[in-house]
Structures are given as structure tokens and as C-alpha cells.
């Protein structure tokens, strides 16, 4: 094996560096899913009757739905009765400061290089940490409250703003949408809720760090973001998970609603445990993310950097209903070892002069498979709709795969749709050129990969971009030399 082949191999068989487990005592439901489990979740969370009914209805629907099989992914059958559907850190007294947060939790965050104290002091980011299924701590809530912004855990919102939750829950992703959305609707435990009132520009990036912590605990997050007329919010979602042997299922639902002239920017850095270099373990990530540009001139922008999970099944989408509304999707998906990713987006143009942009960058290494699946649909009434899509794939080594499935449905002749796609390989010549300039192969790969992803990374908020870059490096870096 030549040196650079070896470097590629090393780089692509790197061990997951964020594999550690936090030991927090937790209170959990018995394994399995029945109506009783759902009633237990609902009562633990002290939910109103309508929400319990919502859950039970979803559960009934889910039981009759077949598993989706169309994606380019393979995995052993999931035994839904082997999963624990509720687990919460033992109830503790209300926390006033970070000093009161479990030191184990703080240690974990420090290992991740995200010292909360610093975040809090330096960057002014309000952090809503979701550890397993219950929010441990919310900061900056009061400051946001002054502006009328509601930002906190989903369960809090259910308690304090039930009318808002009731109005919007399931309005973008109905429980009938797909198998995992139905499952989520039945058993979701917590997540984030965010409401920006009319005319308010949220002055800080809102962020949530998700962690999956309990072995065998399915994670069913539910996020709902509502931006009223002429408001703006930038929301960051980032996650890493401890190393585990068993597969962990994650099926989140995220719903965004942008009203007239509102803008929502949703950025994700996802780094869940991808399984070991032999393909064992790892997170199954089946997510339904969808936003609706309900109002005129509204805008929803999804930016994601996906490096983790054994399986990723994820299509953040935009329904462009309001005239002149804009949908954007910027994505970097990295797969390594035996990871499988089937991701992409759907842009549904309904309103006039609606515009969408799709930039997808897939990087495959090891024996992984990376698929882009995108739908651009132009409805009859979407006069002068426009779409631009660019899907590029980069291959590291020759055992991995990249696939592109662009679907276009155009029902209006005035629409303009452009699609570009490329596939390239990191060449020996590029690596040698870098080496000759003194740049080590590992660094050269990260340089080339970062160059490849540049126009997606440029869309991430500054503080997130740094972290994302580090993540890209970590997920492709090995132990060269």
C-alpha cells in the first residue's frame, strides 16, 4: 500500500473521539411500546388531555403503517419493543446557576470542547441542553422573555403556552406524514420550542446541544419554531453522542413556521456515534424536518453538517406557500467506515415567484454510502418559480459510494429549474502537491475537504463554523504517522 493510500485508509478508519458516557442516574420507563407507555409518558409530563389524545391517535396510525423501504440504506430490523421510550435524569431542585448542574454533565461538555461557562459569558448564546429526553437547564430565558421570545423545552411550552403548541403542533409535519413521524408523534418526550413575536429580531443565536446518553433509549425529540410576521431567528442544533455497542434509534421531528416577511435560519451540526470501524453500533437517525414559508416574502434556510450516525435518513424541506418566499438547503454529509446516509431535501413551490436553492456536498470515505435525494416540485400556481440545485460528491478511496437521485416535478411552464452535479476523487496528485509544500497528508485531506465544502460552511454562523470544521477534521482524521 502506498503512503497516501495508507493515509486515506487511516484517515477513514479513525476512531470516534467523542465516545464517552456520562454517568447520571436516570429514571426510565420499562422497555417496549404500548398504549400504557404512552399514558405513562403523558402523565409523567403532566400533559393536557388533548395531547394524550394526539399521541394515542398517532400510535394507532403508526401501528398500521409499513416501514419505509425506498431509501438507499440497509440495516437489521428494529425491534421497537426493545426500546425504552422514556428516561429522565432524576428530578432535582430547580437550578439557579451552572454551579448546580451535575458536574458529570459539565465534564462531558468540557470534553466536547464546549465549556458552558465560556459559552455563556463570551458568546452570549442561550443554551438549552437536552440530555436524553428532559431539559436540564435553560439559560438566558429571562432576557429573551423581555423581547417576548419564548425559548425553552417543549414540555415547558406545553405547560405554559399550550395554545401555541396546540395551534402549530403537527401543522407542518402531520402525524400521517411517515412512519417515523407517526412514531415520534406518539412517543416524543421533549425537545425545543421557540416563538418569536411580530417584528422581533432575535438578538442571539439560539442553540441546543443534544446528547443521547442512555443505552437503548430511543430519542424522540420534538422541535417547533414559530416566527411571527417580520421576525427573525437563527437557531443552532448540535449534537455528539457517547460510544455505544447497541444501535440507538433516533426519530426527531422538527417543524418550522415562518409567517409574512419572517426568516428562520436553522443550522445543524450532527455528530452522533457512527458505529465502530467494523460497522458495529451507531445511531440510527430518522429525522423529519420541514418548514413552511406560510407568509409572503418569508424565508427558511436549512444548513447542516452531518458527520455522525450509522444511518442518516433526513430531508429538511421547505414548503414555499407564501408568494416570493425563499427556501434554502445547504448540506455537507460525511460518511466513513460503514456509515450510510440518505439525505437531501424537498422544495415544494406553491406561491408565485418562490425561489429555492439547494447546495449539497457529499463526502464518502471507507466503505460508506452517501446518497443525495432531492425533490423539486413546482405546483401549478407557482408562477415564475425558480430553483437552483448543485450536488457534488467527493470520494476518498475506492471502496465507498456516492449516489444522486434528483427528482423534478414541474407543473408550471414559467418555472426555471437548474441542476448541476459532479463527482470527484481526492487525487494522489493533489495530495503529493500538498506534501511537496510541506503539508502532511492528514492536513491535506482536511484542506481539500474543507475547500470542497466551502460554500456550505460559509452559510454557518461563525461560532458554529469553527466547530463544524473541527468536526469534519475529526471525522476524517485518523492516526497518520
Amino acid at each position: 500500500m502506498s503512503d497516501s493510500e495508507k493515509a486515506i485508509k487511516d484517515a477513514t478508519t479513525g476512531e470516534y473521539k467523542y465516545g464517552f458516557v456520562t454517568d447520571v442516574e436516570s429514571d426510565k420507563a420499562p422497555k417496549g411500546l404500548t398504549e400504557d407507555t404512552i399514558r405513562l409518558i403523558s402523565s409523567k409530563k403532566n400533559e393536557p388531555e388533548w395531547l394524550l389524545e394526539f399521541r394515542l391517535k398517532a400510535f394507532k396510525l403508526w401501528k398500521e403503517m409499513p416501514l419505509p423501504t425506498w431509501a438507499h440504506i440497509h440495516y437489521p430490523e428494529i425491534n421497537f419493543q426493545e426500546i425504552v421510550y422514556y428516561s429522565a435524569p432524576k428530578p432535582k431542585k430547580v437550578l439557579n446557576s451552572l454551579d448546580e448542574v451535575d458536574p458529570e454533565v459539565l465534564k462531558t461538555f468540557n470534553k466536547l470542547g464546549i465549556p458552558l461557562e465560556e459559552q455563556k459569558l463570551l458568546s452570549g448564546v442561550a443554551v438549552d441542553i437536552v440530555m436524553d429526553s428532559v431539559s436540564v437547564k435553560t439559560t438566558y430565558k429571562e432576557k429573551l422573555m423581555e423581547l417576548g421570545i419564548i425559548f425553552g423545552s417543549f414540555s415547558d411550552a406545553v405547560q405554559h403556552h399550550p395554545e401555541l403548541v396546540k395551534k402549530y403542533l403537527g401543522s407542518v409535519v402531520p402525524m400521517t406524514d411517515n412512519y417515523y413521524a407517526a412514531l415520534n408523534s406518539a412517543v416524543f418526550t421533549d425537545g425545543s420550542f421557540c416563538y418569536i413575536p411580530k417584528g422581533v429580531r432575535c438578538p442571539m443565536e439560539l442553540s441546543t446541544y443534544f446528547r443521547i446518553n442512555e443505552a437503548n433509549t430511543g430519542q424522540f425529540e420534538r422541535t417547533l419554531i414559530v416566527a411571527e410576521d417580520s421576525s427573525y431567528v437563527s437557531y443552532l442544533e448540535g449534537c455528539t453522542a457517547p460510544q455505544r455497542d447497541e444501535n440507538q434509534l433516533h426519530a426527531a421531528v422538527v417543524e418550522l413556521i415562518a409567517l409574512d416577511n419572517a426568516e428562520i435560519k436553522y443550522s445543524t451540526v450532527q455528530n452522533w456515534y457512527p458505529g465502530d470501524s467494523k460497522g458495529r453500533g451507531g445511531i440510527y437517525n430518522f429525522v423529519t424536518k420541514r418548514g413552511i414559508c406560510a407568509g409572503v416574502n418569508s424565508k427558511i434556510s436549512w444548513t447542516q453538517v452531518e458527520t455522525g450516525s450509522a444511518i442518516t435518513w433526513k430531508y429538511p424541506s421547505c414548503i414555499l406557500k407564501g408568494d416570493n418566499s425563499v427556501g434554502e438547503f445547504y448540506s455537507v454529509a460525511v460518511t466513513n467506515n460503514f456509515q450510510q446516509a440518505d439525505t437531501g431535501t424537498k422544495m415544494i413551490h406553491i406561491g408565485k415567484n418562490t425561489k429555492s436553492t439547494i447546495i449539497s456536498k457529499g463526502i464518502s470515505a471507507g466503505k460508506s454510502n452517501n446518497s443525495y435525494r432531492g425533490l423539486v416540485k413546482i405546483n401549478k400556481g407557482a408562477e415564475k418559480a425558480r430553483n437552483f440545485s448543485q450536488c457534488d460528491s467527493l470520494l476518498l478511496g475506492d471502496k465507498c459510494g456516492a449516489h444522486t437521485y434528483p427528482y423534478i416535478e414541474c407543473n408550471n411552464k414559467s418555472a426555471k429549474i437548474e441542476h448541476e452535479a459532479t463527482t470527484s476523487k481526492i487525487g494522489e496528485d493533489q495530495l503529493f502537491y500538498c506534501n511537496q509544500r510541506g503539508i502532511k497528508t492528514e492536513k491535506a485531506i482536511s484542506l481539500i475537504v474543507n475547500g470542497f465544502c466551502k460554500n456550505v460552511m460559509d452559510n454557518l454562523p461563525m461560532e458554529f463554523a469553527v466547530e463544524a470544521k473541527k468536526l469534519l477534521e475529526i471525522s476524517l482524521e485518523g492516526s497518520v504517522g
Binding site: 503512503d3 497516501s4 511537496q436 509544500r437 510541506g438 465544502c453
Partner: protein, 249 residues
């Protein structure tokens, strides 16, 4: 500083270098000429450490170290630079980011701290001026969409930034217009001092009007078969290589 003794190298089992000897001392400029396919680029690549080439015999010492024992990046760290005959393109990586990474990696190799942004920017300005490199090229992706001449000039710019001990220029003059040729040569002449050396591979004596070599070597069939001063280049220009090959028989 560079001592090549009986160097033999092959690619895909085919012998290309067949016992090559060359010594380069500090302050010298060596020109290497020779017909197409004689092994000039191969020699440059072997010295730079391209792994496709298999060294089957001989030795190379560079600044007292066994060069063949070092990785390509360590060779660069030791001060060896090769201006490529065909520079590669790297989309999305800006020229400036690339050279900054390179400069700091070489510094790290030599146990020096990375350059402060201010110092780096100053160095960048100076060297850009040296090769009259268009400032716009600095922000473009490395070599992507550069014209042939721009690529070559960019190689010399990078060389100026890295300030190597030994610069190997593989046909940097090919594809350059007269002005660019003068600028590139001028750049090399300004970099030249008593502690560094250059090996210039070329087909044209024209370049040697600007970069005056101390020695001119003829590489033929994997060996240096004739060495002279710059007059040899003039002679080759007039008579071609035939007379040398005949001499050999």
C-alpha cells in the same frame, strides 16, 4: 548540499533513471537539459519523494541527511521545493489559505511558531510584488482556472514564500510569454543567495539568458552524459542532442 550518487529509479517496473550522479553546492545554479522522456521530471519527482517511483539503487544526501529516507513533507521541511511542470488545481481552497498552511507547516517542521497574521500579510505582499502576481489570484481557488502562465508564476510565488534551500524548477519556462519569463527569472535571481541553490530543468537556452547557470547538464536515457557551462546550452540549441548521443557510442 545535494549529493546524488548512482541513482536508479523505475516506475511500473520500467527503469527510467539508470545511475545518475550530480552534486549541487550552495550558491550554485544547475541547468538540466535533455530530450523528451529522458527522465528529467522523473529525477525531480524522485527527489521530491513521489511514491509511484521506486528507487532501485544509489543514494541521495541533502544537507547531510539521507533524503530518500524522508517523507515528501519532511523533504519540504528540510528546504526542498519543486515547481511542478503541471501544477494541480484544488477547488475551494484559496491560494492564500493554501500557502499560509504550507508556510506554517514548514515552520512547524523547523520548530518555529506559526506566523502572526500581520507578518504573514507582509510576506505575502512582498512576494506577490516579487513575481508581479495579480492580487486577485490570491483569493481564488488554488490554480483553478488559472492560465498556464499564471500557474507557473504561482509556483514561483509559492517558492518565494517558502524560501527553500534547494529549488527545483521543472520546465517553469514552458508556456510563459516573454514578459512572464523575465519576471519569473527575475524572481529566481532575487531569491538566489550564497546559501541556496537551484536546479532548473528546461528545454530552452532562452531561460538561461536570464537565469545564468553555473553548470549545464545533459540528461539522456536516465544518466547525465555531459556537463559544461552555459556555452553548452547554446551549443545544444544550435546542434540538438544528436551529436552527444553519437559521442556516446
Amino acid at each position: 548540499m545535494l549529493k546524488i550518487k548512482g541513482l536508479k529509479a523505475s516506475i511500473n517496473g520500467k527503469a527510467i533513471l539508470k545511475g545518475l550522479n550530480l552534486e549541487v553546492k550552495p550558491g550554485e545554479v544547475h541547468a538540466i537539459m535533455g530530450p523528451n522522456g529522458s527522465g528529467k521530471s522523473t529525477l525531480a519527482s524522485v527527489l521530491a519523494g513521489k511514491e509511484e517511483y521506486e528507487v532501485t539503487g544509489g543514494s541521495v544526501t541533502f544537507r547531510g541527511k539521507d533524503l530518500l529516507d524522508l517523507s515528501p513533507e519532511a523533504r519540504a521541511g528540510e528546504g526542498l521545493f519543486m515547481a511542478f511542470q503541471y501544477p494541480v488545481e484544488i477547488p475551494g481552497v484559496s491560494n492564500i489559505n493554501f500557502i499560509k498552511t504550507a508556510v506554517n507547516e514548514v515552520r512547524e517542521y523547523n520548530k518555529m511558531p506559526p506566523l502572526e497574521t500581520k507578518e504573514f500579510m507582509k510576506l505575502l505582499k512582498d512576494k506577490q510584488a516579487l513575481v508581479e502576481l495579480d492580487g486577485k489570484l490570491a483569493n481564488r481557488s488554488l490554480n483553478e482556472g488559472f492560465s498556464g502562465g499564471e500557474k507557473k508564476r504561482n509556483e514561483i510565488f509559492q517558492m518565494a514564500m517558502l524560501n527553500p534551500v534547494l529549488g527545483i524548477l521543472d520546465e517553469t519556462d514552458s508556456g510563459l510569454d516573454i514578459d512572464a519569463l523575465r519576471i519569473v527569472a527575475n524572481g529566481v535571481n532575487q531569491l538566489k543567495n550564497k546559501n541556496n541553490a537551484f536546479v532548473v530543468i528546461t528545454h530552452y537556452q532562452r531561460l538561461l539568458d536570464y537565469i545564468v547557470p553555473d553548470f549545464v547538464h545533459v540528461l539522456y536515457d536516465g544518466k547525465i552524459v555531459k556537463t559544461g557551462d552555459k556555452k553548452l546550452a547554446l551549443e545544444l540549441e544550435k546542434k540538438g542532442y544528436d551529436w552527444i548521443t553519437k559521442e556516446l557510442v
